[in-house]
């Protein structure tokens, strides 16, 4: 008798053991070394014991099945793998962050100007202590045209208090609306009056920044910023329109069960994410940021990773070249990070390069993770 995993179930090997990803149900099964050896062998079409309780359980979970003869299982995938070898395909640009301003009178404790590291600061409003000439409104409009030519899917418009230059914000938003159906505006919830909210509601999806759970409403998306040590107080019943943004002033000491470094980093899997993470960075890929002074960044929080300034360059030029193109960041798949490449959860894990760089200064480091793939163990929280 033989046992094979279903088309939708992939066995991913780690250094010591493996995991099975069910790409339809989203479950990831962490296997013991012995279970891993069994799946290793059965996936090589070696005969198995049909009474094996582990394999029978996998059948009950509709993860794999027994066969009387050797079979070939064509794996479920998205698209065609041959496409990845074709040269010259256009880049896939899912989102562009346009930081159209850098003014704010508030002094939020978590603002980027304080040098704070935030896990989802990319979705929040920040101002920065930076020099430079602001990009003028006509260049912003040109950039919107250029993003449209590149078939960018969504625009995220942010940059301090957008009401400080309200007319400029409105003009850019009107212009964006002519070409994009998916536009998001990000700001602190106290920035926007009721009139401003009413206006924006018809033009964009609003993401409102707050650090108080009592501010959360139902009409918009909310970015709830909290100190990571208090984050456990939030877990559980948060509404689906809330994104939690954890702040760490110096990272230490991170508790072993922090969402930044524990098992909580591992998400449910799916076919799209699995395919994406095989080749690309889980977060940076397919994204680009243009700052208030024209710097092109891979992420709004990676301020030191500028690829150049759009002042004298067309946006498409940032997609060319091996070392100085945005793809350099997109292509940091977890496979390419030394520690992650040995981990069986590498295609379903999250990763924040901005936090890693802030902590170590190294674009390719991996310190925010408590799993040791060479031992197959998680660091446990203190009792």
């Amino acid at each position: 008798m033989y046992f094979r995993l279903n088309p939708e179930c992939y066995y991913i090997k780690g250094d010591q053991q493996g995991a099975i990803y069910d790409l339809i149900e989203g479950d990831v099964y962490a296997l013991s070394p012995e279970e891993s050896r069994k799946i290793d062998a059965s996936e090589d079409n070696c005969a198995v014991d049909p009474a094996d309780p582990f394999l029978r359980e996998l059948k009950q979970r509709v993860v794999g099945n027994f066969y009387e003869k050797k079979v070939f299982i064509e794996k479920l995938r998205l698209g065609s793998p041959i496409v990845e070898y074709q040269e010259g395909l256009p880049p896939v640009l899912m989102r562009a962050v346009l930081e159209i301003g850098n003014h704010c009178d508030r002094s939020c404790w978590y603002c980027g100007s304080h040098g704070i590291s935030r896990s989802r600061g990319c979705f929040g409003c920040n101002i920065w202590d930076e020099k430079g000439t602001p990009v003028d409104i006509n260049r912003w409009k040109e950039l919107i045209d250029e993003l449209h030519s590149l078939q960018c899917q969504a625009l995220f418009i942010k940059g301090g208090d957008l009401t400080k230059e309200w007319e400029k914000t409105q003009e850019i938003l009107e212009y964006a609306n002519k070409q994009f159906t998916s536009v998001f505006v990000i700001g602190h919830m106290n920035h926007f009056s009721k009139e401003a909210c009413d206006y924006l509601e018809n033009k964009a999806n609003l993401i409102l920044q707050t650090d108080s759970i009592s501010d959360i409403g139902t009409r918009h998306h909310y970015l709830l910023t909290t100190d990571y040590q208090k984050s456990h107080e939030l877990s559980g019943n948060l509404p689906t329109n809330v994104i939690v943004d954890m702040v760490s002033r110096n990272f230490d000491p991170l508790q072993p069960d922090s969402p930044l470094n524990s098992k909580k980093k591992i998400l449910k899997t799916n076919l799209g994410q699995f395919t994406h993470n095989n080749k690309l960075h889980p977060c940076l890929a397919n994204s680009i940021t243009i700052t208030w002074n024209g710097e092109v960044l891979p992420c709004p929080m990676m301020r030191k990773q500028s690829l150049g300034n759009i002042g004298d360059r067309k946006l498409w030029t940032f997609f060319r070249g091996a070392e100085d193109s945005i793809q350099k960041f997109w292509n940091i798949s977890l496979n390419s990070l030394n520690k992650c490449s040995k981990c069986e959860f590498r295609y379903t894990c999250t990763d924040c390069r901005a936090l890693e760089v802030a902590k170590t200064g190294d674009l390719y480091s991996k310190v925010l993770c408590n799993y040791d793939p060479s031992k197959g163990t998680w660091q446990q929280p203190a009792a």
Binding site: E74, S80, Y85, E87, G88, P90
Partner: protein, 488 residues
């Protein structure tokens, strides 16, 4: 569609999702939505099987794309231009001459193809070539805003392109002078007889991707590839190919054509030699409209070929995993040929609502083939009755839209086809004299051929579970290095 591997295992191909999986009597009934009785369940399997297959099917249904009716949509010139700017222009190929110093017996420009032009003394002149290149570059530069990752790529084709080598040199020198900041791909497809040391040095200096037509060892090659006096060309070709390989130049490859008289064991041995260029493409003479080449073969010839093919397949199964590299003739012939059905299928990607919902065809303008007179065509393979523009006025997007719309109208049976997602057909299979045949006429035997492909592929996979993945990965990553647009 159902098919059987050599071991007798039945597989079911699900055309909506785009993959095949082992079938089972219970699964078959569930897919057909036939009511199941308790007795049938106990005969066909047990309760565990029933639960497994019903839940497996439920899982698949969660991701099954909604069955969409293809959109009734007339493609416009603006849509074509937008598609070309973003995904087109991957190569301009100049047909620098219609002349050839060989008289290959299956040549698409010979009398055995009644719908394509014949060999002639026409050659392209530099003003025509320059206009074509200038047009391509203007479109390329305009398109960078839509697709910054494309590199300009120029191919040289014939007849035998090396007969007009001076033009090739002039084109390369012109482009490098006019666009010094750009990094061009250059490629040439040659019969290899005129590849002198001097020409070789020029091609190498400019990084040309060189495809040489070699049909195997002397007796195989010389059967079809001959000079006008009937003399075989093998000794001249192999001398030049050997020299190129010995120089360490790795951007060269062999293109091999076989027919029902080919001894594929001899081809396997020949293409495993280190002094012979690695194989990029294997094909039989194109069976497109107006082809009479195959009428020379008897039923016995065909049966004999099929017998050899079966023996070769067994040989491949026994040796594939141990002592055969993924560049061998058999690897290409069995793993790659057959697995194209598997790996080129866009799994879970519904195409019904796209501009080209059926077949594997391109938007003309993805490639631009320029003939000696300066007329544009969709590629070098289609006959001359579907021009897409010329050097004077550039691509005629309106006309291209017309070609695409007419083509789609002739795909009359695709909506009910059980293997439509696996289809790799394009305009060339349907092209007649300026019009298209109907799919219901052309595709009659397609499912039978596809079953053979799938059966072979799944038999390889049963015997060597990881071989197909490795072979496909090796081949396409190599191909992308030695000739980036060859596999397109």
């Amino acid at each position: 569609m159902e098919f059987e591997s050599q071991s007798g295992t039945t597989y079911y191909y699900d055309n909506e999702i785009g993959i095949a999986f082992p079938s089972h009597p219970l699964l078959k009934k569930m897919i057909a939505a036939t009511p199941l009785h308790k007795e049938e369940i106990s005969v066909a399997g047990d309760d565990e099987d029933f639960l497994f297959y019903s839940r497996f099917l439920e899982k698949l249904n969660k991701i099954r794309p909604k069955r969409n009716t293809p959109r009734k949509h007339t493609i416009t010139a603006d849509e074509v231009k937008s598609m070309v700017l973003r995904e087109g222009m991957i190569q301009m190929t100049l047909g620098v001459t219609e002349d050839c110093n060989l008289r290959c017996r299956y040549c698409i420009f010979s009398d055995v193809y009644t719908l394509s032009r014949n060999r002639s003394r026409n050659v392209m002149d530099f003003p025509t070539a320059k206009k074509a290149l200038d047009y391509y570059m203007s479109l390329f530069l305009e398109g960078r805003e839509y697709n910054p990752l494309r590199r300009p790529s120029i191919g040289f084709y014939g007849g035998e392109p090396l007969l007009n080598f001076d033009l090739i040199k002039k084109c390369v020198q012109y482009l490098k002078t006019a666009y010094p900041e750009l990094d061009f791909h250059f490629s040439v497809t040659t019969n290899g007889t005129l590849l002198t040391k001097e020409k070789e040095e020029f091609l190498k200096e400019h990084g040309f991707y060189i495809s040489i037509s070699i049909d195997g060892p002397k007796e195989e090659h010389d059967r079809n590839r001959v000079y006008p006096n009937g003399k075989g060309t093998f000794s001249d070709v192999i001398k030049n190919a050997n020299r190129l390989i010995a120089s360490g130049y790795d951007r060269c490859n062999a293109i091999c054509v076989f027919d029902w008289k080919s001894n594929i064991f001899d081809l396997e041995a020949f293409f495993s030699r280190p002094d012979v260029p690695k194989l990029s493409i294997i094909s039989s003479p194109a069976k497109q409209g107006g082809c009479t080449y195959f009428s020379q073969f008897s039923e016995e010839d065909f049966k004999a070929f099929k017998n050899t093919e079966s023996r070769a397949f067994q040989y491949y199964l026994e040796h594939a995993a141990h002592d055969m590299d993924s560049h061998s003739f058999f690897s290409k012939f069995f793993s790659l040929f057959a697995s194209r059905s598997l790996y080129s299928v866009p799994v879970l990607v519904p195409r019904e609502q796209t501009a080209l919902p059926y077949s594997g065809t391109c938007v003309p303008g993805r490639k631009i083939f320029v003939d000696c007179q300066g007329n544009f065509h969709p590629c070098e393979r289609i006959n001359q009755f579907f021009p897409t523009g010329n050097v004077q006025f550039g691509l005629d997007f309106q006309r291209i839209a017309g070609i695409m719309n007419e083509y789609l109208e002739h795909l009359d049976s695709c909506n009910s086809c059980s293997i439509s997602k696996t289809c790799g057909f394009c305009y060339t299979q349907f092209a007649q004299k300026g019009c298209f045949d109907y799919a219901s006429d052309i595709c009659k035997d397609v499912e039978d051929f596809k079953k053979i492909d799938y059966s072979r592929t799944f038999t390889i996979g049963e015997n060597h579970p990881h071989l197909l993945d490795v072979t496909v990965k090796d081949y396409y990553s190599w191909l992308s290095k030695i000739s980036p647009t060859l596999g397109d």
